[in-house]
């Protein structure tokens, strides 16, 4: 496609809508992902038939199925068979095994160290996958949703990343898009996308702070807007802090209140209860939580003040990071023209209160904080395909440097330098006759190498033998407009050139990428029909598993005839599931559900009777109130 570039103000009317291709905006989140499209400057979230715009960033790999299952269905499988499911994979993008030592939850158990370094691999029910592949599956699902809703080919996208994402994580995101058959028009920082969604590029000039607290990540950025140009002045945050940590803090409090500890397998329902309580406390001053775990029921009351006290240290960390960003940019909180809230966790009243207190003004929050990033990404995708006056000027989020003698770091590109950028630094040999030099590229703000992220290592060989200090090795760092880094080195003095391009330590090798691309092409039958069929099979399978468990424990509630009826319906479903007819699977699932309904009702009755027997009247009353 050939595009003309127009001077500002001369941009012709967009002609989107008449093409059979569309470029979308994708918010690839830690917890949830969304896809949106913009036509004539009006962005819209692309929703499924039920109006649900959110695709949980959860991928299930079922035995025997080539096609992983993504989204809500995978979330249901997560509860039952967590070993087959990957969630929060964004935390692993571009990470090595050393980086994830502190990682908790179900992800930690899946991490495999193949001893070869590089990005972590996950063992998901015996299948070894990389975080890039898992993210690729999420992107593929979003792409399919977009194609189904729009009825167009969707092969270009703007994908958002946290402003704090380092080079390895950005590269991994790009690789994931490639696996999903998506050309990345631009990786855009999430806060910048949010500002676009609020139309700040149209209306406002001045300084804006974007406070983005998602499920698993926190970002704060300072944007300067002038005449349609977005300039990221400074950015900071915490790649491992989010609303999930609020849930965890409350869950730990609840477990402590119950006393007596808890089995590892019972943590999940407590977390779920904590999350519901957190959401309730957005509007209510107090809420009650009933836990029935390990055969012991407890009731807990949580006030908003109590919850605030639990999460205050976490919120305090975000406020400290926001202060640091202001300080970095040499800007006082009073100089801001506005504050934008992004991320579902900004619904928490304490967060709003602290942000308002820090910046001395009410933040902007009228766009759904879960959707705002995807909407902005869609606007930028439209801008890049049809032309626009808005320009995003980003910065390097974390300093880039090299390891020098003694494990110290020499910064080559300091953080908050505008990109694209290219900087060179000269180094020399420290031994007579030295003919090679190890080059270790790191990213971060700390003084010592081992406190920062290792991005790449390579060796510059073929340096002519000279006395120590005579060679002049020029190392050049180049960061493109997406924030992706290339490092090259050459010995300049003798005219001998040795030049090496680097792949990130935690990226994928070209061979790995080729293999994964081939595999993804072989799985090209992953169209909407097979996806729906896979989901229908999963639903059927879940029902059978649930029914088998119920029959094993309460089978005596059924007469021989009734049981045979259920077994017949079950056999019919199993047969349907081996075929490729989705309608047949759905129908057989419904038939089995119908056949099992009287059994389910009888089980419920019995369980209630069991629960009530041996309970004295006063406790019964309190328990009924609880219910």
């Amino acid at each position: 496609m050939l595009l003309d570039i127009y001077e500002p103000g001369e941009t012709p009317l967009p002609h989107a809508g008449d093409s059979d291709r569309a470029a979308v905006g994708i918010d690839l989140g830690t917890t949830n992902s969304l896809v949106a499209v913009s036509v004539n400057g009006r962005p819209e979230i692309l929703r499924d038939a039920l109006g649900d715009g959110i695709v949980p960033s959860v991928v299930a790999y079922l035995e025997g199925d080539d096609e992983p299952v993504v989204g809500r269905v995978a979330t249901r499988i997560l509860e039952r068979e967590p070993e087959l499911v990957v969630a929060s994979v964004k935390r692993l993008m571009g990470r090595g095994t050393g980086d994830v030592a502190s990682l908790g939850g179900h992800l930690a158990q899946k991490i495999r160290d193949d001893g070869q370094g590089g990005m972590v691999r996950l063992d998901v029910g015996g299948r070894i996958v990389s975080p890039v592949e898992v993210s690729g599956e999420i992107l593929r699902t979003l792409r399919q949703r977009a194609e189904m809703v729009l009825g167009k080919t969707v092969d270009q996208a703007v994908i958002t990343v946290p402003a704090y994402f380092d080079d390895a994580a950005r590269t991994a995101t790009r690789d994931a898009a490639r696996l999903a058959g998506i050309e990345v028009l631009r990786l855009v920082n999430e806060p910048t996308a949010a500002a676009l969604a609020y139309g700040l590029d149209q209306a406002a000039e001045g300084l804006y702070a974007i406070y983005d607290l998602g499920g698993g990540t926190f970002d704060v950025s300072l944007l300067k807007l002038e005449k349609g140009v977005f300039q990221v002045l400074a950015t900071g945050g915490d790649a491992a802090l989010g609303g999930d940590d609020f849930d965890r803090a409350l869950a730990e409090h609840l477990i402590g209140e119950r006393g007596g500890g808890i089995a590892a397998g019972d943590v999940k329902p407590v977390l779920a209860a904590a999350r519901r309580a957190k959401e309730a406390l957005t509007d209510a001053d107090a809420t009650t939580i009933d836990l029935d775990i390990g055969g012991r029921a407890t009731r807990h009351t949580v006030t908003r003040a109590g919850f605030n006290a639990l999460i205050a240290p976490l919120v305090g960390r975000t406020i400290a990071a926001a202060r640091a960003v202001l300080q970095d940019a040499g800007v006082g909180a009073g100089e801001l023209s506005g504050v934008v809230l992004v991320g579902g966790s900004t619904r928490v009243p304490l967060v709003r209160g602290e942000v308002t207190a820090l910046f001395g003004r009410e933040p902007l929050s009228d766009i759904d904080p879960d959707e705002v990033v995807a909407l902005g990404a869609a606007l930028q995708a439209e801008a890049l395909t049809i032309g626009s006056d808005t320009l995003l000027l980003d910065v390097v989020p974390l300093s880039l440097g090299l390891e020098t003698m003694g494990g110290l770091i020499e910064k080559v590109i300091p953080r908050n330098t505008p990109i694209p950028v290219s900087r060179a630094q000269d180094f020399t040999t420290y031994q007579d006759g030295q003919t090679a030099m190890a080059i270790h590229v790191v990213q971060g703000e700390r003084e010592m190498v081992d406190q920062n992220r290792s991005l790449a290592r390579f060796v510059l060989a073929g340096i002519p033998a000279m006395v120590a200090g005579a060679a002049r090795i020029r190392v050049t760092f180049t960061v493109d407009a997406d924030g992706l880094l290339t490092v090259s080195a050459r010995e300049a003095l003798t005219g001998v050139e040795a030049r090496v391009e680097v792949k990130p330590t935690y990226g994928l090798t070209d061979d790995e990428m080729t293999g994964m691309l081939r595999a993804s092409l072989e799985n090209a039958r992953s169209d909407v029909v097979t996806r729906l069929l896979a989901e229908a099979r999963v639903d059927g399978r879940r029902l059978i598993l649930a029914l088998d468990a119920a029959l094993a424990s309460d089978g005596e509630l059924l007469s021989v005839g009734e049981r045979a009826g259920i077994e017949d319906a079950k056999a019919a479903l199993e047969t349907a599931m081996t075929g490729d007819d989705r309608e047949a699977v759905v129908a057989a699932t419904e038939a089995l559900e119908a056949a099992g309904r009287p059994f389910a009702e009888r089980r419920m009755d019995r369980n209630i009777r069991r629960a009530l027997s041996g309970v004295d009247v006063s406790r019964l009353e309190s328990r009924l109130q609880a219910g």
Binding site: M1, L2, L3, D4, I5, E7, P8, L185, R186, E226, K227, G228, V229, G236, G237, D238, L241, R317, A320, A321, R323, A324, Q327, A383, L384, T385, G387, D389, L391, L392, L393, T417, P418, I419, P420, V421, S422, E445, T478, D480, A481
Partner: protein, 208 residues
């Protein structure tokens, strides 16, 4: 702004990198394709006059105008060659902006252009005894000032910085390169002092 940028960019008749036609602009008038960036100093790249005294807002306007023309986002739909050229343009525009934005790197760069790069700036190599004495007095003042009195010291330092910038502008305007070098060295240690003062006033919060 754009017209001026073009006039400086092209110094001799050049053929378009894509269609071969004669071009007078960084973007070919015939086929609209982007040309590789030329060899320009940072001032010329942004269409500014070579001078120490520059208007900060004019610099930003020039910077934004240049990025608006050349940034890779403007060439997202183009071929690989033009994408590479636009990346090169944008990189050089950023370098120009970063160099000219703050007074110290701007003074340093101007002296480089004049073939008189600033000598070492680590504070140990100040040769002028008067300058050395002044630097030591400032340092002592910073060390002995109680936290409560730091704002007053900062105000004094800010005033001194403004004076030095004025002196620098005068020196460059009168092509007094020795004087400019002297004032640039003062600016160098005063700036360093300024960042130490800020650190002392508000301890850096570690970004996790």
């Amino acid at each position: 702004m754009g017209a001026r940028l073009m006039a400086i960019e092209i110094t001799a008749p050049v053929s378009c990198n894509s269609c071969g036609g004669q071009i007078e602009d960084a973007i070919c008038g015939g086929c609209k394709s982007l040309q590789p960036p030329g060899q320009l100093d940072h001032f010329a790249r942004l269409g500014l006059e070579r001078d120490f005294a520059i208007d900060g807002q004019a610099l930003e306007r020039a910077y934004f105008a240049a990025q608006r023309r050349f940034h890779p986002d403007r060439f997202a739909g183009r071929g690989a060659k033009e994408k590479t050229f636009s990346l090169q343009h944008a990189t050089l525009i950023n370098e120009a902006y970063e160099t000219l934005r703050e007074p110290l790197p701007r003074a340093r760069y101007l002296l480089e252009l004049e073939g008189r790069p600033l000598p070492g700036e680590d504070g140990k190599t100040i040769a002028d005894p008067a300058l050395l004495m002044e630097a030591m007095e400032w340092r002592e003042a910073l060390e002995e000032t109680a936290p409560a009195d730091l704002p007053a010291l900062k105000a004094k330092l800010d005033a001194e910085l403004a004076t030095v910038e004025g002196e620098l502008a005068l020196a460059f305007a009168g092509h007094d390169l020795a004087g400019a070098t002297n004032q640039a060295l003062r600016l160098s240690y005063l700036s360093k002092l300024g960042s130490e003062l800020r650190r002392k006033a508000a301890p850096r919060i570690a970004v996790p």
